[in-house]
Subunit: 234 residues, 2 copies
């Protein structure tokens, strides 16, 4: 196709523009002392359930979280997350397969960052497209449900490579799904050596306290250390 | 962003080119009497397991199926599918989130279509990007696993809209996942009224015979009738 060089050029410009917006966002978040965590996964890995539980637990512990959630259509996720009583903003992307930094920037416009401890960004369910787009987050978390199969990190290496942490979700289904956790963790580690991995069931609550402890221990400064810390459940 | 009109234009050109290649492919497949079925779903919905079982059952019934499988990285899926002893061709897309018609065209180049009854095309696991790309298939099947949640059709309507048939997978996990099939089928139907829906467990074999019967009853001409036929499991 003769149009390929033009696409590459246009795509580079988009990514460059996105990186600039993301860099400015990250500075704003850091200056305000807000820990920004983005969640990426395939559709149905349980991002929203995990996030709803996270928001609820953080609020119970007197933290002030907020969430931005991206979807092609519907504001179902925002409605679910709003049950936690945290501020929630929906971004509807139409046919776009990922969030971009400018969308996050618009979404948080009305928020006083000084009154928040955490901002979570739930990306569109997609294991491919979001990997190239920096959203100004300090921590990118990739979720993988036990029902998806242990091979996903090998098949979608770019997104696992771009993540700072991996969360294995729906572990209450592990036995029924004949999930082999050693193989899954081995695959995650082979693609992204040293990445912290935790295992949770948002539905049953398993693993959520550890996750909250991990988050709250890192709220102020030192955020960048999280991805370098050793935090395995082996 | 000032570059948006250029992107739209470039994207339109790509889609137009893709449609032309797809149209030519479809004519070749139809002339050769090959039923071409594409599979789309989120990562981990079970496309490969479903396809492996389908290839094996079709070969046992003396049909001649072949498969083209797309992945960002690894040829794990091709290796799994090859166990069926059907011809299998892997397309590695790198960072591209979907297959395009030209890739399918290259992949099948060495095949004598006259010696085949079916060609299956397993797309990259993605509920967004593949929807806009015609691959020359006669039947596009969207898979949804019981572990993904009943709301996926509402959240990813474009791909369900572009499909001719929906397959609910991993029904052996339905109880453990607390899957509400009436809600799921209702959501599928609300997005794409009248679409045939079947329910299977490739692992346990449930529903596979019905699927094979459906495929083999449509191998020659009359393929287009499939999406208009009433084939519900209610």
């Amino acid at each position: 196709m003769t149009s390929v060089p033009r696409i590459v050029e246009v795509r580079k410009n988009i990514l460059k523009h996105n990186d600039e917006v993301a860099r400015a966002l990250r500075k704003r978040f850091e200056d305000a002392g807000v820990l920004v965590v983005s969640l990426v996964s395939s559709p149905g890995a349980g991002k929203t359930a995990f996030l709803e539980k996270t928001l609820t637990l953080l609020r119970q512990a007197n933290y002030r979280p907020a969430a931005v959630v991206g979807d092609l259509a519907t504001d179902n996720d925002a409605a679910r997350l709003a049950r936690s009583e945290a501020p929630v903003k929906q971004i509807t992307t139409g046919t776009l397969c990922h969030l971009e930094a400018a969308m996050v920037q618009s979404a948080i416009e009305a928020w006083d960052l000084g009154s928040l401890d955490f901002v979570f960004i739930e990306n569109v369910g997609n294991l491919v497209c979001p990997s190239a787009y920096d959203l100004g987050e300090s921590l990118r978390v990739v979720l993988l449900s036990v029902a998806e199969g242990e091979d996903k990190p090998l098949k979608y290496p770019t997104i696992f490579n771009s993540a700072d942490m991996a969360v294995i979700t729906k572990i209450d289904l592990a036995e029924a799904a004949e999930f082999d956790r050693a193989v899954a963790i081995g695959n995650i580690q082979s693609v992204r050596p040293g990445i912290p991995v935790i295992e949770v069931s948002a539905k049953r609550g398993h693993g959520m306290d550890d996750w909250i402890k991990l988050l709250t221990s890192r709220t102020r400064p030192g955020v960048g250390e999280l991805s370098r810390s050793v935090f395995f459940t082996t």
